[in-house]
Each structure stands twice: as C-alpha cells, then as structure tokens.
Symmetry: C2
Subunit: 203 residues, 2 copies
C-alpha cells in the first residue's frame, strides 16, 4: 500500500511540474468533432422513441455500442482501457403494434446518392433475416435535407439488381417514404410506418 | 512533445523501481471472480442463440451493456475511462416465429427461493409493457441446479399478489417450465417456448 501512495505522489508531482495549466485541450477537440458527426439524426430518433415510450405507443430502444474490455477495475467499477466493437445488427429494435421492428439511421453527405459503403454486408444480411422471420426492417435516411424511410425490401431489391456502389437519390425519392417533420415528436417515423405496414389500422 | 516523453520515462522508472516483479495480480483476481459470476448461464444462452442463428430458427441477440464514457481518445479509437451503466430493459431480445421476444437470465444462489432484488423495478415495468404490446417476455431462472422459464405474466402476478421479497422455489416449480438439457444446443429454451406460446405450431 505505501508503495502505491509514493508512486502516485511522485506521478502527480511530475505532472504538475510539467503541465502547470493542464493538457486536456487536444482530447476535447476530438470529442467535439466526433459528437457532431451524425448526432442530429440520432437525437431526433431518440426523442421520438422517448415520446413513444411516454405515450405507450411503442417500445423501441437504441442498442448500446458493444465494447471490448482490455483493463477493468471491477472493485471500483471503472473501465480503464477498452475499444469500440462493430455491431452485426442494426442500431434500433423493439416492438410496435405487436410487430418486431429493427432499423438503422444513416445520413448521406452526398446530395445525389446514398453510398452503400455506409451499410455493412452483415447488416444487409440481418435486414434480410428480419424480414424472413416476419419482422419489419428499414433504414431512416437523411439526404438532401430530408428524411426518408426506405423499406428493407426495397434496399435489398436494389442491391440484388444493381452493381452500383450507391443508391441514386431518385431511387430513394421514388421508393422511399418521406417523413414530414412535426412538432412532437419532431421525427414521427411511426406515423409513416402506419402508412407502409399498417394500412387500415389506426395509430 | 518532449514534456510527454520525459513524463513517461520518469513514470516508467518509478514503477520499475517500486514494483520490480509487476503488480497485476490483484486485477486478475477481480476479473476472474467477476467472470465466473453468472457467466455459465449467459454462455449457455449465447450458445443457443448462435445455434438458432446458424439454423435460421430465430434472431436473438444479447444487448451490450451500456457504457458511460468519461475519457476517449477518438483518434486512436481507445476508451481511456468509462463506467458500466444500468440497463432499463432486459438482456436479450429478438424475433421468433414472427413474435417479438424479450427476456433475461438470472441465477439464484439460494436453493429455496429466487430473490426479487435480482430484478429492478424498471425491468419489471418493461416486462409488463412488452406483454401489453403483444410481445413474449419471460425469465430464464437457474435454481437448484435446474433451468426454468418463468413467464412474465406469472412473475408479475406473483409480485402483484404478494408482499414477499423472494419467489419460493415451489412457485417456480409449479408455474415455471423446466428446460431439459440436450446435446445441441445445451439449453434449448425455444423448444420450451413452443410448448408455452406456440402450441400446435411445429418448430
């Protein structure tokens, strides 16, 4: 125990001597850049999901990003070193009107097309499987300052009949369903799902 | 940059002087203890889910544990400090025979009863909601060297009609459905779900 105390005292002293004003600037810059990237669409969907939960319309949650643990202090409950892992499924899933719902949200920064590199092959396979098992799977795509729902069926049919590496905006406009922004929730995507999958049923 | 190099050299030197044989023992001990706790049931369920995925019987995944990030080096993709957050939902969800499935796995270390403190209030509310929305929700309970499925309905009915802080083993034996171990997958819980929820349909 005394060894630990001596070690930490020396380290703190050395840090203070070398960095009297701290050295956190660089980290902060990186975190801000990351947070802005694609955060807006995610927060719109989270807002909608919270609204649906509150009104008991649906139960839809974002899956946490899987983490690979390298060094953990389980006594203190603190992760000391870890890395982000890749998801083999999509970001959101849950239940709506008795149906299994499974989808992802993607922003295209190109106005004329949606790059297929944004979706991994195992995610496309997952969409196929969800549909085969009787679930509802789709993408919410932000492109050209607009939000669209593209059914998993239309995504897969495009991929299977095309060799192109991106979906042209025209295809999304033609096959996709536009989500008009409303007051609350801002991105009421379940209203659009009603038109696509639950015709005749009331919300 | 030179400041960093000096800092690290001094720290390394001090560590080497104080701990010539390393000091990783304590961490390792903690990690092993944690891993054994409840790991067996989890790995049996993971094995079953992988089997179902391979045979295209069902799509059921374990939700990653949510993490609260404190310090991240996004450039390197390394988490430098984080903590475990509590789940407000259950550990596993997915789709089976067109139905939304949502459940948790719990081990009771008491032979005569299952402590209700193992399930959080928000998890019980989640189970209620899943059932209300037309999904299937249950617990897989390991108790007395046996595995049982306890339907969400029976769990909630016990809680609502009892003031006890634990479910007696007799209640689990009476209301629950025993999962007999098989060769592959070892814990074929979907077979038991068939008897409970899909009577008349074939696997």
């Amino acid at each position: 125990m005394w060894k630990k105390k001596i070690l930490f005292s020396i380290i703190l002293l050395v840090i203070k001597l070398l960095y009297p004003n701290g050295n956190k600037k660089e980290y902060k810059k990186n975190i801000i850049n990351y947070k802005n990237r694609g955060m807006e669409l995610e927060s719109l969907i989270n807002e909608a999901n919270e609204y649906y939960l509150e009104k008991d319309t649906a139960l839809i949650y974002k899956k946490p990003t899987p983490i690979g643990l390298i060094d953990v202090d389980y006594k203190e409950g603190i992760i000391k070193k870890a890395y982000f892992k890749e998801k083999s499924t999509l970001d959101y899933n849950g239940i709506y009107k008795g149906k299994y719902i499974d989808f992802d949200a993607k922003e295209s920064h190109i106005r004329t097309s949606f790059p297929l590199s944004y979706i991994h092959t195992h995610q496309i396979n997952h969409i196929k499987k969800v549909i085969d098992h009787g679930g509802i799977s789709f993408l919410i795509i932000y492109i050209n300052d607009m939000y669209y729902i593209l059914k998993g069926e239309d995504l897969i049919s495009f991929i299977e009949t095309n060799t192109r590496k991106s979906i042209p905006y025209d295809y999304i406009k033609e096959k996709g369903y536009k989500i008009d922004l409303t007051l609350r929730p801002t991105l009421n995507y379940l209203k659009v799902l009603d038109d696509i999958y639950f015709k005749g049923e009331s919300l």
